[in-house]
């Protein structure tokens, strides 16, 4: 069963992205022993998904947005107090005695890591946006297309259409073009005018974060120069193909007009992100619905402490908000952790936190603006039809969930819907369908999502072979 036996550390960090790296770097000289666990073989998280060590790449991830993060990565990889455990999923997080016990999965079997404190910096994942035909091979998330390209150096397809609400799709489309791929179109749900109006509402935030916006604007300019159509005010109506994607029809959000058909073999969906928060949730950490995309973020205090004693959160897990916020929160959590562990006095911690808190405020303002700008709003509701599959794993359709709500006695919670329809009981553990199910249930009952609406989070956090457990 176990490989390598049990490991005891002061702090276990789940996730190896920007927040985790900032956390570890800030604790470099405290004498605390840290283990960082990630499913990916190499550090960096999804934003810096590193290519295989066997590859040599000229100018990997060019662009100002990545410079700071790449420096961070180099610093992290040089840290002495950190033990990197890659290629391992954390299947379960359990309270034991004074601390925590983590059950890890890996190619050679399970192992236990014990830690006095834990940081969950597990990032986020692309929000699943359902519409007719979206389960066809070739329909992917924009994040998936991006990691396939920047990490594996593989283009997901030969004719790619991007569709969604988030400007990340401009960046990925540009990366695809720069690497010899072909982008047929980038389609935004928002109308052009609505996008501009929104940005002007947040002028001061925009000005304070010009560097981030410049990247999107540069990408847009390059795409236009290469003749890539950028369209506004449309949603995907149907993905078409026999056993793989052959094209997509788009429909205007407002008003009529004939649907537009685009030929493509890959459709990259970019509708926002949901926090990956199942491990803290399995310990009943306090949560809130992460507007506007959905999913559950873990609530925290000013030191990034969750409601579970000894459990810290940072980055997207605490609310989707970008790499800058993640870096700051990782450092804040480090100060909180160091204070709790007694290696920093409260005065020292507060002193070091001051500039961070100011930066944090600015990062949160930017995140709020981005959220307002990329709110999928009614688009997600308009895209889905009665026949659309909402739970990809168990093939539960929108009408099945409707039926459960209508025909059964007093069904008021997504967990009850899950029990009745099997939505959320498949391989992905509800990650893809939970936001949609929660939305459908709360909309049907005329209320907003509440913490009791969360699917129950359980062991194993990742479906895993029996042969690895025994």
């Amino acid at each position: 069963m176990s490989q390598g036996g049990q490991l005891d550390v002061d702090v276990a960090v789940i996730g190896g992205g920007p927040a985790a790296m900032a956390f570890c770097t800030a604790l470099a000289d405290t004498g605390l022993n840290i283990a960082v666990i990630d499913e990916q073989p190499r550090p960096g998280g999804q934003i810096l998904r590193q290519p295989p060590a066997d590859f040599e790449i000229d100018n990997w991830l060019p662009g100002s947005a990545y410079r700071g993060l790449k420096r961070q990565l180099a610093r992290f990889e040089a840290l002495k107090n950190v033990r990197w455990i890659g290629g391992s999923a954390v299947l379960g997080l359990d309270r034991q005695f004074e601390g925590f016990e983590l059950c890890l999965d890996g190619a050679s079997g399970t192992r236990i890591v014990r830690a006095r404190r834990v940081l969950t910096a597990t990032g986020c994942y692309d929000l699943a946006a359902a519409f007719p035909g979206w389960t066809l091979p070739g329909v992917m998330t924009a994040g998936g297309v991006q990691t396939l390209l920047k990490s594996q150096q593989v283009l997901a397809g030969e004719r790619i259409v991007f569709c969604g609400t988030h400007p990340l799709q401009l960046i990925v489309a540009d990366q695809v073009m720069q690497n010899g791929g072909r982008v047929e179109a980038v389609v935004f749900v928002q109308s052009f005018h609505a996008a501009w109006r929104m940005m002007f509402h947040h002028t001061s935030t925009m000005l304070a974060n010009m560097d981030k916006l410049v990247d999107a604007a540069t990408a847009l300019a390059r795409l236009k120069r290469r003749g890539v159509p950028v369209r506004f005010g449309e949603v995907p109506e149907r993905a078409i193909g026999y056993d793989r994607l052959e094209g997509v029809t788009l429909r205007a959000v407002e008003g009529g007009g004939a649907p537009v058909h685009l030929t493509c073999d890959t459709l990259a969906l970019c509708f926002g992100f949901a926090p990956q928060s199942d491990l803290p949730r399995s310990l009943d950490a306090a949560i809130a619905w992460d507007e506007p995309y959905g999913g559950w973020r873990i609530l925290h205090d000013v030191w990034m402490r969750s409601s579970v004693d000894g459990l810290f959160v940072a980055g997207e897990t605490a609310g989707v908000g970008g790499a800058q916020k993640a870096l700051i929160e990782g450092e804040l959590a480090a100060l909180g952790c160091a204070g709790d562990a007694g290696v920093l006095t409260p005065e020292e911690a507060e002193q070091r936190a001051k500039p961070l808190r100011r930066a944090h405020g600015r990062a949160l303002a930017f995140a709020a603006m981005l959220r307002a700008l990329t709110d999928p709003g009614e688009a997600l509701r308009k895209m889905v039809t009665a026949e659309t599959v909402v739970c990809r794993c168990e093939i539960v359709r929108h009408r099945d969930i409707d039926a459960a709500l209508r025909e059964h006695v007093q069904v008021g919670r997504p967990n009850a819907v899950k029990l009745l329809t099997r939505a959320g009981m498949g391989g992905c553990g509800g990650r893809n369908c939970e936001p949609a199910v929660v939305r459908q249930v709360s909309q049907s009952l005329g209320r907003l999502p509440e913490p009791q609406d969360a699917f129950t989070a359980r062991f194993p956090a990742r479906s895993t072979p029996v042969s690895r457990l025994i």
Partner: protein
């Protein structure tokens, strides 16, 4: 399609997918190798419809395949989270045949 310009890859590794040889490179995931080889259908869902990677980061489980490392028994693993290895054999399309 593999990006050629500006990329130097390591050793080639041969794997078999449904009995056919597929060339891959050290460090690639099974999903990347298959997509680069133009293999677009990975498995079939409970209603028999074709599926392929959706998220490429281990969340969606749509890329679940029967993967056997050389001389080992097959296990069902996510192709996007499994690195190719010499002598690996991959079988598509089976949802939990025992």
């Amino acid at each position: 399609m593999r990006v050629r310009q500006g990329v130097k890859r390591g050793d080639t590794i041969g794997i078999r997918v449904d009995g056919a040889e597929v060339a891959a490179f050290a460090g690639e995931t099974v999903a990347a190798a298959m997509l680069a080889a133009g293999l677009r259908v990975f498995r079939h869902d409970p209603e028999g419809f074709p599926r392929a990677p959706f998220c490429n980061m281990g969340i969606c489980y749509d890329c679940l395949l029967e993967i056997a490392h050389k001389d080992a028994l097959p296990v069902r693993l996510r192709a996007c989270m499994t690195l190719v290895s010499p002598g690996m054999s991959v079988t598509t399309g089976c949802d939990g045949k025992v």
